[in-house]
């Protein structure tokens, strides 16, 4: 019960964040403009050269994969560190609620806030696209939206988990932004760099399998491959391939981690590891 009470309080509080809604407005704006461009000029965006609802879904995935991490940072980085720095956590901790329930309540509350923003954006963006296209695949739409909301929840967990490890918002900011830079912006380059170094400072002609594994570790990449795994027909329809920047045919790839289903595994990992880390730190520290 206290988890839900904490979550409800947190939702009421954080859903009023102006920064979140500014970002949602920007998200919707970008979606509307790019959706319009995609429908009118499909050859600029996809190999099929024809605007389809499947194509629109994967096109939107690219934008959502950037928006959700950024929105998660804004909504969640102060979730616990901010409360500890300000002292509002003392009001919460004075009540009979365990630290783990505070952490889980925070994750739930912030995930719900983020999901609200994402849902609003996606409904407007994809609705607009469906009207322009004059076609819509309801099952595809529902699966995609559900997976995106799940991804939002996982990103909220990552950010709340990081926030739980510290009582300083400065450190929380560094952790959140650092995570984004490392795992979202430069991650594709990390395994390639390692291969480059291991290969005697030159690029090999073919890459070992683990490169694909490591590449897919990035949460947004895992989200993208999960969308492919969940909507294989739409993926073929839209001519989408997985494997980050490296072109791999999803059908022919052999090792399990190069298959799209690996995305689910990595997303699950991103749910468990930050939560465990945050739990370990938060339940032990002085607040």
């Amino acid at each position: 019960m206290s988890v839900l009470a904490v979550a409800a309080k947190d939702y009421r509080d954080a859903v009023q964040s102006r920064a979140l809604w500014a970002l949602v407005v920007a998200f919707v704006g970008v979606l509307l403009i790019t959706t319009y461009a995609y429908v009118e000029l499909p050859e600029m965006f996809g190999p099929t050269g024809e605007a389809t609802f499947s194509g629109l879904i994967f096109f939107t995935t690219g934008i959502t994969g950037l928006f959700i991490p950024l929105a998660a940072i804004i909504v969640c980085f102060k979730a616990l560190a901010g409360e500890r720095e300000l002292g509002s956590i003392k009001i919460l901790l004075s009540l009979p609620v365990t630290r783990s329930n505070i952490l889980f309540g925070k994750v739930l509350g912030r995930a719900a806030v983020l999901a609200t923003g994402v849902a609003v954006g996606l409904v407007i963006g994809l609705g607009f696209g469906a009207i322009l296209l004059g076609s819509v695949a309801i099952p595809t739409l529902i699966l995609f939206v559900v997976l995106s909301l799940l991804f939002a929840g996982i990103y909220a967990t990552i950010m709340v988990g990081l926030s739980a490890t510290t009582g300083s918002t400065t450190r929380a900011t560094t952790l959140a932004v650092g995570f984004f830079v490392v795992f979202e912006l430069i991650w594709d380059m990390v395994p390639l760099g390692v291969v480059y170094v291991l290969n005697g400072f030159s690029m090999p002609s073919s890459f070992p399998d683990w490169v694909f594994l490591v590449t897919q570790l990035s949460p947004a990449t895992a989200y993208f491959t999960s969308v492919v795994a969940l909507l294989p027909e739409a993926a073929v329809d839209a001519g989408v391939a997985v494997g980050g920047g490296i072109e791999v045919d999803p059908v022919e790839a052999e090792p399990f981690y190069v298959t799209p289903e690996a995305g689910f595994f990595f997303l699950a990992l991103w749910f468990v590891v930050p939560l465990a880390l945050g739990y370990y730190q938060f339940t032990r520290s002085d607040v």
């Binding site: 206290s2 009421r12 003392k90 009001i91 009979p96 609620v97």
Partner: protein, 305 residues
């Protein structure tokens, strides 16, 4: 069973010893004032009782429940007004109470509580816009939820005007009459003096003294002082004044006689002085606990140096 039992409690933050070997027992049903200058270790002690921070060594129990292992039970039975807290700026006063009621599982009426602490008219305003005193009243309201067996109040009159501080005292007394044990900290003597059964003075992480207000008074030399304006007073009369029963010291100071008295009623002492030299006027100064407080904390510091 004591309401709070603290045994050999020590808390270190790096090199700094915030609390050093503290032993303290708060009896059920009493109002206990925990006094000390800023940084003496009051809040650290309270934070450990509530499991906000963990002790370096020593144990704390509340109504027999270990403060670390059974913190949830402790907090279920305790109402807290913490120190250096911050309200949720974007939530209204009523929303604060609602979620606290949800978590604590009590059947309080939020509006009745807000009424009691005097901010009912601000119930639907966001707490971020409250004054310091209103925030203090709001969090006091949260502390009162569920008629707790123990109230822990860290500097309860912070941010309150004299009227607010009086209302706070009245609530504390009413809660105590209901049966609650009250443990509150302050660095202002007068508030402690007004309501407490017993007082503990802490300085530099160590307990300097624990006693009743009366006991503290009589344990120290400071009692009551008479300032007497006398006419035709000769230096030699001073010895006669000193001989009066109950006078512990007498000094002639700028045409004014400063007489400190012990157990004897001051009226009798005044009559005796009047016989030696006619009294024109007089004032009585009762040494407040503030003087005692300064006396204890300064003395302790001198010992340390």
């Amino acid at each position: 069973m004591p309401a709070i039992e603290i045994n050999n409690l020590t808390k270190q933050f790096g090199d700094v010893v915030a609390v050093n070997g503290l032993d303290l027992q708060i009896e059920e049903g009493e109002i206990f004032g925990f006094l000390g200058p800023n940084g003496a270790g009051k809040s650290t002690t309270i934070d450990i009782v509530l499991d906000f921070i963990r002790p370096t060594s020593g144990t704390v129990s509340v109504f027999g429940h270990d403060a670390q292992q059974e913190s949830l039970t402790v907090r279920q039975r305790t109402g807290v007004l913490p120190d250096a807290y911050h309200v949720y700026d974007r939530l209204t006063g009523k929303q604060h109470l609602k979620f606290a009621i949800d978590i604590k599982g009590t059947d309080d009426d939020p509006m009745a509580v807000l009424e009691r602490v005097g901010i009912a008219e601000a119930a639907d305003r966001k707490a971020g816009g409250y004054s310091k005193g209103m925030k203090q009243r709001l969090v006091m309201g949260i502390a009162l939820l569920g008629d707790p067996d123990l109230l822990i109040l860290d500097e309860p009159s912070t941010g309150l005007d004299p009227n607010g501080a009086r209302e706070m005292r009245e609530i504390i007394q009413a809660e105590n009459e209901r049966g609650a044990t009250v443990f509150f900290s302050s660095h202002v003597m007068e508030q402690v003096e007004a309501v407490c059964d017993r007082v503990g003075i802490i300085n530099r992480g160590e307990l300097v003294t624990v006693d009743s207000v009366q006991g503290l008074r009589s344990a120290t030399e400071v009692g009551e002082t008479l300032y007497v304006h006398v006419t035709d007073f000769a230096e030699t009369d001073l010895d006669n004044v000193l001989d009066i029963e109950g006078v512990t010291s007498a000094v002639l100071d700028d045409g004014r006689l400063r007489v400190m008295i012990g157990e004897r009623p001051k009226f009798r002492v005044l009559q005796d002085i009047d016989e030696i030299a006619p009294i024109e006027d007089f004032t009585v100064v009762t040494s407040s606990l503030s003087d005692l407080f300064l006396h204890y904390t300064n003395e302790q510091q001198e010992v340390r140096q």
